[in-house]
């Protein structure tokens, strides 16, 4: 395979952009972890570190003007990948007025109709029928869009996921199901929670084509997502990607992750990190050198710094906000 084939014929600019988007998620999440430690973010906070190639690889194959995205509660990466402003996301994590939900949603509950991101859902698996409903709406309106519905390996054992698979296949809905298999459902490893860990086969009884993908190699994710979206856009109904990945941090900030060895985590960090992998691949081709990456690091550092400044400057929501947004006032 030539490097151009491996890189899916993407331009240098596009390739560096993938790197930049992944790095933004990494640095944003590291900062979130720090702010949590400082007590500036509270409650549940689920970091996406280690899984960046999944969302950036899939999003690169979506049509940002037509398609919709939904996920569960490990959602900061998806929001940034949809183009939501890091300042608005961080301000929400900090419970501030400038957050995407005016401080009323928190880490697990953010939405942007403008960026076509439909949450941000806190009940494991609930986003799957909802995402199938987004696909139903795409088909009903005939707008040519598809719905990308993300879930974890833990959610893949929820009954409602299969209720959704059945209807999606029965009605040929334009939905891409992505199982982000990060090896653990909270603290329970896949071999302890799933009778079969071949999650890509979970749609097979419903006639949903599935494939397993290496989620630490963004080009593999992109290629699989390209096949999947082509299938869906041809009107052939849903498609399932099981993307194998790894979460470096605990399930949430309160999880010290004692259910796994430090060596296991280090093996990924050192030898199979999706961002390092991408950089290595790019440097192997003669079109890239170290100088291409330095400005990206600097830009992201600045972007995250600005997000923190924006969030710190944003006040807590006014007390009058307590009673707003419960119901849409009828005209």
């Amino acid at each position: 395979m030539t490097t151009q084939d491996k890189f899916l014929n993407q331009s240098k600019e596009q390739l560096l952009n993938l790197y930049e988007q992944m790095l933004l998620i990494r640095r944003f999440e590291e900062k979130s972890g720090q702010l949590y430690g400082m007590g500036k973010i509270a409650g549940f906070c689920h970091l996406y570190i280690g899984q960046e190639a999944v969302v950036i690889g899939v999003q690169s194959q979506l049509d940002q003007d037509k398609d919709t995205v939904i996920t569960a509660y490990r959602d900061h990466g998806h929001m940034l990948a949809c183009g939501m402003d890091p300042g608005g996301v961080l301000a929400e994590l900090m419970g501030r007025e400038g957050g995407f939900s005016k401080g009323k949603g928190g880490s697990m509950h953010m939405f942007s109709v403008e960026k076509r991101f439909y949450g941000g859902h806190g009940i494991v698996g609930a986003q799957v029928p909802i995402g199938t409903g987004l696909a139903f709406a795409h088909k009903y309106e005939g707008d040519g869009g598809l719905s990308a519905a993300y879930m974890g390996d833990g959610a893949a054992n929820q009954g409602q996921v299969y209720e959704a698979f059945n209807m999606a296949s029965l009605w040929k809905l334009p939905v891409l199901y992505i199982i982000e298999n990060n090896q653990y459902a909270m603290g329970t490893s896949t071999e302890r929670h799933s009778a079969s860990d071949k999650f890509y086969l979970r749609g097979e009884p419903f006639g949903i084509t599935g494939e397993a993908v290496d989620g630490m190699d963004i080009f593999e994710v992109q290629k699989a997502a390209q096949r999947a979206t082509k299938h869906i856009r041809e009107g052939k109904g849903p498609y399932l990607l099981e993307i194998e990945t790894y979460r470096y941090k605990g399930h949430s900030m309160s999880d010290p992750a004692k259910y796994r060895d430090k060596e296991e985590v280090d093996a990924y960090r050192k030898d199979n990190d999706p961002i390092i992998n991408l950089k290595r691949d790019l440097l192997h081709s003669d079109k890239f050198d170290e100088d291409d990456f330095k400005p990206i690091e600097d830009r992201i550092k600045e972007q995250v710094k600005k997000a923190v400044e924006f969030s710190e400057a944003s006040p807590e929501p006014d007390a009058s906000e307590l009673y707003t947004d419960v119901l849409v006032e009828s005209k």
Binding site: I70, Y118, I130, D325
Partner: protein, 326 residues
């Protein structure tokens, strides 16, 4: 005015709103080809086609969630549950997904959806098919909860529910689907959500009721009238937001209230009314607020036991006489 059954009134409400707005669609078990398990969706498939009248698999949790997703994108689903007993499978989506998202999104994303179907006891169908969910749903901010009695109210309020930008739980009753009432003609009969109606004026005691219990309360009022007690019957029509003003005004006039419901008493709708009355009209009361509700047991199958378990007009009569000290 035209005489319609509640079943026909509900069907007409959906058909009129579907003609008016392409985004309205109906989904549920047996709503299309079978014409509705209780024939409430009769004729809709023929008029609107399979794109907008959708038979679902038996998969309440799944299709409720799917409909919520469609509503997030601006469609206006009318989800029929064959009975609200089955909606327990879907209650997570009704509350966590439909009712809370507007708030959680800081007002960005609403969920214009109607969950409708028969609620409460039917006839001899046993404990799992015979529960009233009014109190359950009315507990939750972010939802509107409607439980009409007459066909005119069923039509006017279902049309309002479909046009409402919020999630609405619309509780019907299987036993009265076939009852006939006068319904205003035309497709502009829409009623405000959140307004109770005085079903019968009276001066001696207030009886509150909703859905099938309105009929039982009216029957009780007739019996009481023969005994010289003039009861005012309030048809709540909407459980959330509750029209407490109408209740309080009535209590200020009658100084006595019996709150009825078909559901269980503990933490029920009548308990809520009792609290509101003692908070807002304590000084007007000449007797303790009294509740009439289902007996505190799962609904039995045997005919005699079922009748004993459900609140009957006689129970209301007895309660009214006790608050009138007669």
């Amino acid at each position: 005015m035209t005489t319609l059954t509640i079943r026909e009134a509900l069907r007409d409400a959906m058909a009129e709103e579907m003609r008016r707005d392409e985004k309205v669609f109906v989904m549920g078990e047996e709503v299309a080809e079978y014409q509705g398990a209780y024939k409430v969706t009769q004729g809709l498939l023929q008029e609107f086609g399979a794109k907008r009248v959708i038979d679902t698999p038996i998969t309440e949790h799944g299709f409720a969630g799917l409909a919520v997703g469609a509503a997030f994108r601006g469609l206006r689903p009318v989800v029929e549950f064959m009975t609200f007993n089955f909606a327990m499978q879907a209650i997570d989506h009704i509350i966590n997904s439909a009712a809370k998202t507007l708030y959680m999104s800081g007002g960005q994303m609403g969920c214009p959806i109607v969950f409708r179907g028969p609620n409460g006891a039917a006839s001899r169908v046993g404990a799992q098919h015979s529960q009233c969910y009014a109190a359950w749903y009315s507990h939750c901010p972010g939802l509107k909860v409607i439980a009409p009695y007459s066909a005119a109210d069923a039509k006017g309020l279902l049309k309002a529910a479909i046009r409402d930008p919020n999630p609405v739980v619309f509780l019907e009753n299987e036993l009265i689907y076939g009852q006939s009432f006068d319904v205003p003609d035309g497709d502009d009969h829409i009623l405000p959500i959140g307004k109770a109606a005085i079903a019968r004026e009276g001066k001696d005691v207030t009886i509150t009721a909703y859905s099938i219990m309105v009929g039982k309360a009216l029957k009780a009022a007739e019996i009481l009238a023969e005994q010289g007690i003039d009861a005012e019957v309030i048809d709540l029509r909407t459980i959330r937001p509750m029209d407490t003003e109408t209740i309080i005004e009535s209590v200020k006039k009658t100084n006595r209230i019996v709150a009825t419901e078909e559901g269980w008493g503990q933490s029920g709708v009548a308990s809520e009314i009792s609290t509101v009355v003692q908070e807002q009209a304590f000084d007007y009361l000449d007797a303790p607020v009294t509740r009439v509700s289902a007996k505190d047991v799962p609904l039995p199958y045997a005919a005699n036991l079922e009748k004993l378990a459900l609140p009957q007009p006689e129970d209301i009569v007895k309660a009214v006489k006790s608050v009138c000290y007669k």
